[in-house]
């Protein structure tokens, strides 16, 4: 497998975005429409206390995924209420097309005291082709369980033969480290299934073996079927010193499966790595694979977790 990089596709600071956002376009996720591809991402404003809040926005590009047509001009999802699981932002958002509606699985963030953040997965619906989404309730559809104690997030959903499959992450540890200012978290990829998208069966089992030690953090799985197998891209990093140390930051991982449940990890076959210089030289993260007109595209973020936008690569066949 070989992905050919086409470079930065969207640079948020060149555009006017809703909700007063101008930096960060994180975790791009595509919805193929008749006349364009709508790419959702999370961007950021600062609240009264100077802390970041993540907002959902989108950019429409042409179906060749080469040219920006327009950006969202209005709020895509309203901010959540006081004390809700997604009060301090949504990052990322994953959209699934259904007849007459689009559903979005959201990863909601709320701030904590002992640790910086907790996350859980919510559900929202759009009936206007993805221009706006309404939560179907104020709480999450997937939060912590005895076996998945915190940081449930990063949903990616496919519906196959009436079964909803979700690949997502949950936290396995929070640890104080003397060398770092705040506690460090470790999270891993897991799989859940559902008949209706609301009630999910899951068992606290991680499905992708670690490649860089037991404290490897795995995030943002994206899954597609191709040539008789299931393929997963995700990103992974070390648990500490990952923000500015190029050797410990996010890279893209790859795994494949005959059935979507049992996975073989094979990062060497990922077909993409950091560049020697430029916007994606230090880090690769938040991958999203989609197909349009017979071509597979990989959207992803680069340095600084997507502060300067996202790029696109195409699959060579």
């Amino acid at each position: 497998v070989k992905w050919t990089k086409r470079g930065l596709l969207f640079e948020p600071h060149r555009y006017t975005l809703p909700d007063g956002c101008s930096n960060f376009a994180q975790s791009p996720q595509a919805l193929v429409l008749d006349d364009c591809v709508r790419i959702y991402f999370s961007t950021r404003s600062r609240d009264a206390g100077g802390q970041y809040v993540s907002h959902v926005a989108f950019v429409d590009v042409d179906r060749a995924v080469s040219r920006v047509l327009r950006t969202a001009t209005a709020t895509v999802m309203s901010q959540a209420g006081l004390g809700c699981f997604d009060e301090h932002g949504i990052f990322p958002i994953n959209v699934v097309r259904q007849p007459n509606r689009i559903v979005a699985f959201t990863c909601g963030w709320s701030r904590r005291v002992a640790v910086p953040v907790e996350t859980a997965i919510g559900l929202a619906v759009s009936r206007d082709h993805g221009l706006t989404f309404e939560r179907i309730g104020p709480g999450p559809v997937m939060g912590p369980t005895p076996q998945e104690p915190f940081l449930v997030g990063d949903p990616f959903v496919l519906i196959r033969d009436g079964i909803w499959h979700m690949w997502y992450i949950f936290g396995t540890s929070w640890t104080e480290n003397p060398e770092e200012p705040g506690p460090a978290r470790v999270y891993k990829i897991a799989h859940a299934t559902s008949r209706d998208g609301l009630t999910w069966d899951r068992n606290g089992v991680t499905i992708v073996p670690a490649a860089i030690g037991p404290d490897e953090c795995q995030a943002l799985p994206t899954v597609f079927e191709h040539a008789g197998a299931w393929h997963m891209y995700f990103c992974y990093r070390h648990a500490t010193d990952f923000r500015t140390n190029r050797g410990r930051g996010y890279r893209l991982g790859y795994a494949w499966s005959p059935d979507g449940r049992v996975w073989q990890r094979d990062d060497a076959a990922a077909g993409i790595d950091v560049s020697l210089s430029g916007w994606d030289a230090d880090m690769l993260c938040y991958p999203h694979v989609f197909w349009c007109d017979g071509q597979a595209y990989l959207l992803y973020n680069g340095n600084a977790f997507g502060r300067d936008g996202f790029g696109v690569a195409v699959l060579e066949q």
């Binding site: 005291v113 309730g137 559809v141 915190f150």
Partner: protein, 320 residues
């Protein structure tokens, strides 16, 4: 109307010899009856930290079965640990409700974490004792009942019961946080979930008890006992704001059901109210009703929601 005769102040934490972790409060009593004594679980607090923040710990006191005013034992250590960094119960276990199941004692408890925009969140955890209720081991590191689509926060106040093969968990769920000039205040209402194994819960999905005081009435401690063909729920309720004094503080309410689906609230039947003076003259809350040797008894909290512990009342007649 029921008639509860107050028997007195059973446990005042300030009047017993107690360790530092049990320094303040004795809240949310729940009983487990043994041959010669009644074990009363409650939640207590070490002194507040420099920022004025408390953690809640779970404890018990053993009272002599034929004289519940005589203390015959106290838990030497908290009956369960606090959760680790970042878990739902890192900052408290309050309240606790227990039930026997074979050789085990099962505990359901509210686990407390601290949040940035609101002071706290609560979710319900589950723990098991294999030493007759002396110590409890938690089931996993996360909650068995936490926030869900239509119950977004403050899932607390568990009361566990079993009727036949059906496990019933009454609890409260937050409906909103009210912003104030100080810290935000939650509104919460009584709900129910059922289970066939005590682990996987099916939520009933409704508020069981209509509000009476005001639209934002807060309800807690939904304590259910079956007697004379009906389910009797004693609970407590208060105003959402300004509730720290006599006027708007907790009182004990009552509701009745014959099918566990429909409840009829009638606080005039509760039959217990604040006293004119003394430790329970400003508020009464967190009722727990149980039967012992042919008597129907209620433990409950007094002023400041258990700062001075709990008292005992006895029903004249029966629940009907």
């Amino acid at each position: 109307m029921f008639s509860w005769r107050k028997l007195g102040h059973v446990l005042d934490p300030e009047r017993i010899d107690r360790p530092e972790w049990m320094r303040e409060f004795a809240q949310a009593p729940a009983t487990l009856v043994f041959d010669t004594f009644v074990r009363v679980y409650f939640s207590c607090r070490p002194p507040a930290d420099a920022a004025g923040q408390y953690v809640s710990r779970a404890a018990y006191v053993d009272l002599k079965r034929d004289n519940l005013f005589e203390v015959v034992g106290v838990s030497p250590e908290p009956i369960m640990d606090l959760g680790g960094l970042g878990t739902f119960d890192q900052f408290g276990t309050y309240p606790t409700s227990v039930i026997r199941h074979g050789d085990e004692v099962r505990a359901y408890y509210g686990g407390w974490t601290r949040c940035a925009s609101v002071p706290f969140d609560v979710a319900i955890g589950y723990a098991v004792s294999r030493d007759r209720g002396a110590t409890f081991e938690k089931h996993g590191r996360g909650p068995v009942l936490g926030a869900s689509l239509h119950e977004p926060f403050v899932i607390s106040g568990p009361k566990i019961r079993r009727f036949g093969d059906r496990w019933c968990l009454w609890y409260i769920a937050g409906t909103k946080w009210i912003p104030t000039t100080g810290r935000a205040e939650p509104v919460y209402r009584i709900r129910m979930a059922t289970s066939t194994d005590g682990l996987r819960w099916e939520r009933d999905g409704r508020e069981l008890i209509p509000a009476r005081l005001e639209a934002d009435e807060c309800q807690a401690s939904p304590d259910v006992i079956f007697a004379n063909g009906a389910y009797h729920m004693f609970f407590c309720y208060r105003h959402s704001l300004g509730y720290r004094g006599r006027e708007k503080g907790y009182r004990i309410g009552y509701a009745r059901s014959t099918d566990l689906a429909t409840w009829t609230r009638d606080d005039t039947k509760a039959g217990i109210d604040v006293s004119d003076t003394g430790w329970d003259s400003e508020m009464i809350s967190y009722p727990h009703v149980f039967e012992l040797d042919g008597r129907t008894l209620m433990f409950y909290l007094g002023n400041q929601v258990g700062r001075r512990g709990f008292g005992l009342a006895e029903l004249d007649g029966s629940l009907s």
